[in-house]
Amino acid sequence: MTALVIVLALPLAGALAVIALPVRAAVPVALSATALTALSALVLAASVWQGGPVTLMVGGWQPPLGIALQADGLAAALIVMSALVVGAVAMAAWFEMAAARAGPRAAFGFWPLMLLLWGALNAVYVSRDLFNLYVGLELLSLAAVALVAISGTAQALVAALRYMIFALAGSLLYLAGVVLVYAGHGTLDIGLLSARSPAPGDALALGLMTAGLLAKTALFPFHVWLPPAHASAPAPASALLSALVPKASFLILIRLWFEAMPELASTAALLMLAGLGAIAVIWGGVLALVQSRLKLIVAYSTVAQLGYMFLVFPLAGGDGSAQPWAAGAWTGAMFQALSHGLAKAAMFLVAGICIAAVGSDRLGDLRGLARALPMTGFAFALAAITLMGLPPSGGFTAKYLLMTSAFAAGQWPWALVLAGGGLLAAAYLYRPLAALFTRDARLPVHPVARAWQGVPLALAALAVLLGLLSAAPFDLLQIGRPEPAVEGL
C-alpha cells in the first residue's frame, strides 16, 4: 500500500523539487527520486505477487464518490517495466548530459518532465476511475509533448505541435465518451461499470473513448504524428515516448474492452481493431524499411510493434473471453507490451550513443561503429532479436502465445500477420545492424563511456530474459485478470 502511494507521489514530488531547488541539485534529486521510486515499484510488484491486487481508496472514500486505485498483476508488471526503463533512461541521460551534448535548457527541462511523465504513467496504470484516467492521460500527454519540444528547434516544435493536436483531439474524444458514461450511469468506476445495467448511449461512449485512445496509441491510421515526434526528441526522451507512453492508452483500452464494458464488444468491432493493428504491422514495417535515419527506423518500428498488441481483441475479447485460448492471447499481448517497452527503450538509447559518438544517426554515418562500440552493437542486435520475435526473447514468447491462440481460435490469418511482421522486422532492422557491423568506418568516433554503453545492453538483455524466464511474469500477469486464468492449451 505504501509502495503504491510512493510510486504515484514520489515522481511528482521529485519533479516539483527539481524545479524548486537550485540547478546544481537537479541531477542528484532527480536520480535519487528515480532510484527510490524504482525500488518501490519492485516492492509493489512483490506484494502483488504474494498477496494479490493492492487496492487503495483515496481518502478512504468508496466509489462511486471516491476514486479507487488498484495495482493488479498487469499494472504491477507495467509499473516494473516502466521503472526499469525510466531507471535506464535516467542513467543514459545523466551520461549524455555529462558528455555535454545537450543544451542547458534541455538539461534542465528533462528531469522534471521525465519524473512527471513517470508519475502520470503510474497513475494511469493503477486508476480504476475513467475521469482519473483522463487526468492521468492528459498529464502524460503534456509531459510527452514537452519532451518532444525540448530541443527547441523548429523541427522539434512542429513535431511537438502535431503530436499535441492529435493528443488533444484524442483526449477530447475520450472525455466526450466519459461524459456520456456519466450521463448514463452516474459513476465512472470501472468495477461499478462492469456491473451496470446497459444504457442506450453506451456503445457511442465506448466508440468515442476508443477512437480517442487509438489516436493516442498511434494505431494506424492515427500514426502519422508518432515518427516525427519520437525522432525529434533527444534519445533518452524518445526512449520514454516510444517504450512507455503508448502503453498507457493501450492499457485503458484493455480496461474498457475487457473490464468495464466487455459485453459491448461486438465481433465486427473487435475485428476492426485487430485489422487496423494488422495494417499497422505491415505499413509501419514497410515505412521503416525505407527510412535512412536510425531514429526514424526505430520510430516506425514502434508503429508496427504496437499493431501486434491489437490482435488481442478478437482473440481474447467479446465471446472469445470465455474460451481456453483467451488467457494465452491476452497474456501474449501484454508480453508484447512489456518486451517491446524494454527493447525499444534499448534501441533509442543505442541511437543516443551513436549520436554522441559520430554526431549523426544516418545509416551511412553509422557504418563500422560496432568496431569502436562493440557493446552498443551487441545491445542493438539483442533488442532486434526481441522485436523480430525470435527465441529466446520476450518478443518470441508474446508471438508464440498469440500465434497459438490464433490457431486455437481458428483465426489463423492473425498468425500470418505475426509471422509476416516478424520477417518484415528482420528486414528493416537488418539494415542498421549491417551498417553497424561493416568494417569501414566513415566518421571519427568520439569515445563513449563503457558504463553508458552498458545501459542499453542491460535493457536488451532484460528483454531476452523476459522470454527465458517467462513463467513468473506470466503468472504475475494473471493476478486480478478479469476472466479466470485458464491454464495452457
Binding site: A327, G328, T331, F335, R371, P374, F378, I385, M388, L390, P391, P392, F396, T397, Y400, L401, M403, T404, F407, A408, W412, A415, A419, G422, L423, A426, Y430, A434, F437, T438, R439, G467, L468, L469, S470, A471, F474, E487, G488, L489
Partner: protein, 487 residues
C-alpha cells in the same frame, strides 16, 4: 544428477561463450584455456553419460516457461549420437581455430559466438520437445550469423545476409508448422509421436511440408540450398563447423526428428509424404554433385558436395525402412568426419600455401604430404571407396532402398558415386600426379592445424574399417533403429 547432467553439458559451452564475450582482445591464454577447457569438460561429461546410459540411466531436465512452452532436455540414443559427434568435432575445431586465427582481431567475439553456436547445437541435440528444438534451432541461426560475417568485408556481409534471408523465412515456416500441429495435439514431446487423429490428412501433409521447408533450409535441400555455397566467404574453421557439424547437421537431424518423433514413420508412410521427400533428397544429391563439378574454388566445390551429401541422411530418413534409416544415421557421423577433414585441409592449403583454386593444387601432395593424404582420404571416403566410411553409408542406403521397395535409389547412388568421383578425382590427380607450379610454396609447420585433420581423417578411416564393431557409429545406428524406431 539425472537432471543436472544435460544442463551441465549445455553449460559447458554456454559458460565459456558468456565469459569469452567480455574478455579483452589480447587475453589469448585465458580465452584459449576457457574454450579448450569447455570442450574437454563437455567431452568428458558426454563420455560419462554414454557409459551411464549404456548402464540403463536416463536423463531429463525441464524448465517451464509460459504454458505450452516447456524447455525440455532429454537424452535419448539419437541425441547421444549427435552430441558425441558435435562435442568431438568442436574440440578438434577449437584447436584448429586457435591455430588458424593466431592473434588476429575480434577473437573474443569470434570464440564467444563459436561457443554459443556449439551450445545451440548441443541444446538442439538434447531437446526433448518440439518447442525446445525450435528455440535452439533459432539460437543456432542467430549465433552463426556473426561467424559467417566475421571478416566484416563485403563478401562476408553479403553471405551473412543471404544466410539470414534463407534462414528466417525457414524458421517462420517451422514455427508455423509447430504451432499448427500443437494447436491440435498439445505440446509434442519426442518420447512418442503425438496423436494426429484430430487433423485431417490434407492439413497433416501441409504441416509436414512446412516442417520440411523449415528444417530443409538448414539441411540445404534443393531449392533451399543457395545460402550454403555463398557462406564460403566465412573463415575455414567456420566453414568446417557449419558444414560438418552445426548447421547442416541440425537440419538433417531435424528431418530425422520430424519423421520419426513428430509424425512417426507409420504416419509418414500413411500420408504418402515419405516418397516425395526421398525424391527431393535424390534430386538434391544429384543436383549438388552436378553443381560441384562446375566450381573451380576448392571450398565452393566442397560446399556443393555438402549439399549433395547431407541429403543422403534425408534420403535414409525418408525411405523409412530400417536399413535405410541406419544408412542415413550413420552418414550423419560419417559425412561429418569426412567433410570436416576436407575443410580443415582446404583451410591449411589456403593458410600455408595460399591455394584456393583447384588448378593451384598441382603437386601439393609432395609439399604438404600430411594434409594431402588426409584430403585424399576424405575425398575417397566421399566417393564411397570401400572400406572407407562413405562406402558403409551408401551400402546401407542401397540395401534400404531395396528393402523399402524403391530400387531407383540404387540408380541415384550409382549416379552420385560417379559424379563424386568426377569432381574429386581430378583434385587427387592434381595433388599427386601433376608437377607443382614454379612459384608454388607451402609447408606444414603448423601442427595445431594439421593434427586435427589427421585425427578426423583417421577417424573417417577407422569408422569404415571397424564398422562391424558394436561401438562403431554403424553399430550404434543399428542399435538406435532397433531400439527406438524398430517395428
Amino acid at each position: 544428477m539425472n537432471a543436472a547432467l544435460p544442463v551441465l553439458i549445455l553449460l559447458s559451452s554456454l559458460v565459456p561463450a558468456g565469459v569469452t564475450f567480455f574478455l579483452a582482445q589480447d587475453s589469448h591464454t585465458l580465452r584459449n584455456t576457457l574454450n579448450l577447457g569447455g570442450a574437454v569438460v563437455k567431452l568428458g561429461l558426454i563420455i560419462w553419460m554414454l557409459f551411464a546410459v549404456a548402464g540403463g540411466a536416463s536423463y531429463e531436465a525441464s524448465l517451464p516457461l509460459a504454458p505450452g512452452l516447456v524447455m525440455l532436455l532429454r537424452v535419448d540414443a539419437l541425441a547421444l549420437l549427435f552430441i558425441s559427434l558435435s562435442a568431438t568435432l568442436w574440440f578438434l575445431t577449437t584447436i584448429y581455430a586457435i591455430a588458424y586465427f593466431g592473434t588476429k582481431a575480434e577473437l573474443s567475439r569470434f570464440f564467444g559466438f563459436f561457443s554459443l553456436c556449439v551450445a545451440a547445437t548441443t541444446g538442439l541435440a538434447l531437446s526433448g520437445s518440439l518447442i525446445s528444438f525450435f528455440i535452439f534451432f533459432e539460437l543456432l541461426t542467430l549465433s552463426t550469423w556473426p561467424l559467417v560475417a566475421h571478416k566484416q568485408d563485403k563478401p562476408s556481409l553479403s553471405a551473412a545476409r543471404v544466410y539470414l534471408a534463407y534462414a528466417l523465412p525457414g524458421s517462420a515456416a517451422l514455427l508455423w508448422a509447430i504451432i499448427w500441429l500443437e494447436s491440435a495435439t498439445g505440446p509434442v514431446l519426442f518420447t512418442e509421436p503425438p496423436d494426429l487423429s484430430a487433423l485431417d490428412p490434407g492439413a497433416l501433409r501441409g504441416i509436414f511440408a512446412l516442417f520440411i521447408i523449415g528444417v530443409g533450409v538448414k539441411a540445404a535441400l534443393v531449392p533451399l540450398h543457395g545460402w550454403l555455397p555463398a557462406d564460403m566467404a566465412a573463415p575455414a574453421p567456420v566453414s568446417a563447423l557449419l558444414h560438418a557439424v552445426a548447421v547442416v547437421k541440425a537440419g538433417a537431424f531435424g528431418v530425422v526428428r520430424v519423421i520419426y518423433d513428430v509424425f512417426g514413420a507409420s504416419n509418414v508412410a500413411a500420408l504418402g509424404v515419405g516418397e516425395p521427400l526421398a525424391i527431393l533428397a535424390s534430386v538434391t544429391i544429384v543436383w549438388g554433385s552436378v553443381r560441384a563439378l562446375q566450381q573451380d574454388e576448392i571450398k565452393k566445390r566442397l560446399a556443393f558436395s555438402t549439399v549433395s551429401q547431407v541429403s543422403y541422411i534425408v534420403l535414409g530418413a525418408a525411405l523409412a525402412s530400417p536399413l535405410a534409416m541406419i544408412g542415413g544415421l550413420v552418414h550423419l557421423i560419417h559425412q561429418g568426419l569426412m567433410k570436416i577433414t576436407m575443410f580443415f585441409c582446404a583451410g591449411i592449403y589456403d593458410e600455408r600455401a595460399g591455394v584456393r583454386k583447384i588448378t593451384e593444387l598441382n603437386g601439393m601432395g609432395a609439399r604438404m604430404p600430411w594434409t594431402s593424404v588426409c584430403f585424399s582420404l576424405g575425398a575417397m571416403g566421399m566417393i564411397g571407396l570401400p572400406p572407407l566410411a562413405g562406402f558403409v553409408s551408401k551400402f546401407y542406403l542401397g540395401l534400404g532402398g531395396l528393402e523399402a521397395g524403391a530400387p531407383w535409389v540404387l540408380g541415384v547412388l550409382v549416379a552420385s558415386t560417379l559424379l563424386n568421383a568426377a569432381y574429386f578425382l581430378p583434385l587427387l590427380y592434381r595433388l599427386w600426379f601433376l608437377p607443382a607450379a614454379e612459384d608454388a610454396r607451402g609447408d606444414e609447420r603448423a601442427p595445431a592445424l594439421v593434427v586435427p585433420a589427421v585425427v578426423t581423417a583417421t577417424a573417417a578411416l577407422g569408422v569404415g574399417l571397424l564398422a562391424a564393431s558394436p561401438i562403431s557409429p554403424l553399430g550404434w545406428a543399428t542399435l538406435i533403429v532397433a531400439r527406438e524406431y524398430g517395428p
